[in-house]
Amino acid sequence: MSNNFVIDPYFIDFPKRILEIQNEMAKKNLDVYLGSRLRTMSWTTDAFFPWRAFIVIPAQGLPTAFTFVIDAARAADDSWLDEDHVLGFAPMGGQDQISQIADFIKDLLPSGKGRIGIENGMSNYLPEGNLTHYEYERFSEALDGYILVNAHEIIDRLALIKDTGTINRFKEASRIVDIGHQAVFDAISNGGWKGMTETEIAGLASHAMRKAGSVWEWSFTGGNEIAVGKRTGYAGGACTPATNKRIEAGDPLMVDIHAMYKLGLGDHSHNYLIGPTSDRQRWHAQNFIDIVELTLKAYKSGITPSDLAFEMMGFAEEKGFADFMVPGFEHGIGMLGDEWRIGMNDGPFPYWTNPDHVYQENEVLICAMQYACPDESIGFRYENPIVIHKDHCEEMSKFRLSVDEIL
């Protein structure tokens, strides 16, 4: 008799995640956890919640998600939770989000007392989903007698180290991004770039990635970020939603594309010089390649963002291009909604990356660098999801590291 079990490489044990949250809730004496951040929705439900959403996690048993009624049935269909645990809210008596969720919590805690964990704070990432001031006030009124306690660190800590299923989802999203890059390369080569706009490049990358299985160019920065000419080199810049700007001969071209697979995120940038290329442009390009290679060699468990920045900026200074480096070499990443901050909220500036965060094995981050020389209208960007290992990092996107010269 043969063993026909098929192991799903993208499997994530979501009930186990909920149990881990409930264990942490018990340590903090929380009776209910009321999550509202997009990262929390993704990490607990395995579904994308584009509309306002909440999740109520009781001390024991299954959680229940709440979202705008027009999307609740779809979200339930996508989630591991069933339709009785993904509920819709609507502007009707007893069915608005505050009444519905407050009533639900009161049913869970009928004594009229209890400690409720909420998610509060601030973020660079606009769709973070912290409880708004208004929501906090309304929930406080509706749950009079209950205590609301900021508790997002529970999710933040548990989500920090990625499990195999999550890492494999990121790898698949990165494989798809590589297909997008190949499609862009094929399209712009041999003069194909002539007359093309940034948005066309964004679109053809999207088409190739969607054909390959991506469900969304997930980044809130306009999906795929494409920049040509001076837009590649904004001072201190690293955000370029595609525009209708056309590629011109002699332009640098930055292609920063995004794919999503089962809420795992692909994010990789590749750079070009559209001919004719000057020696000075090649000098900039080589600087960029050198520092990316060195950075990728440096990432491993035990180092910190500040260690790495110190070492890399020292290298750039030594080679004479420190003026062109944006002094940051990473941003955080996790299942959809978990972007920007690295690690826990324990640094000198609240809700920013702690520069002394010590990387651990199986953390995933975006190795990210921006080289920018606005005076010469040139810049390059590197982004690639990496897994931290004991003595090295693993690049998930495998597209070649180069600045390709295209004629």
Binding site: V69, A72, A73, A76, E83, D84, L87, G88, F89, A90, P91, M92, G93, G94, Q95, S99, Q100, D103
Partner: protein
């Protein structure tokens, strides 16, 4: 002369059940299995009353009225007696009453939306029953 029923009385409930059985086939009710309990606040004597109706595979299962909170149900609708009265007289739509906050629904909203048209059918039949309010 047409018989009049006291609204929410046991006799009214029997008439509601009879009419629903007569006019709503399981097909018309989409073979639904569900239950709904309307809880009336501030009835004539200041008391709370309920009107409970349940379906099994589209057929009427139970129609019960009485005092207090009534049986557990998949959907619980709370409101003032005067609001429910207007719905039973077909002078106010149930959906409008919910959307203006005059009624409060407890239950799975997605499932409730699936049942909204069925509830309208029930209310239309109830509105044909002559009653003393």
């Amino acid at each position: 002369m047409e018989e009049m029923f006291d609204y929410l009385s046991p006799q009214w409930a029997i008439e509601v059940e009879r009419k629903l059985r007569l006019e709503l086939s399981p097909e018309k009710m989409n073979h639904v299995t569900s239950s709904m309990n309307n809880i009336y606040e501030n009835c004539k004597d200041g008391k709370r009353q309920f009107f409970y109706v349940s379906f099994k595979d589209g057929s009427i299962d139970e129609v019960i009225t009485g005092f207090g909170d009534g049986p557990k149900a998949e959907f619980i609708i709370n409101g003032e007696y005067e609001v429910f009265k207007q719905i039973s007289q077909a002078t106010l739509g149930a959906q409008r009453a919910l959307m203006t906050g005059q009624l409060k629904l407890k239950g799975n909203m997605v499932k409730a939306l699936k049942l909204a048209s069925l509830v309208d059918r029930i209310n239309k039949i109830i509105a044909t029953i002559p009653a003393n309010y």
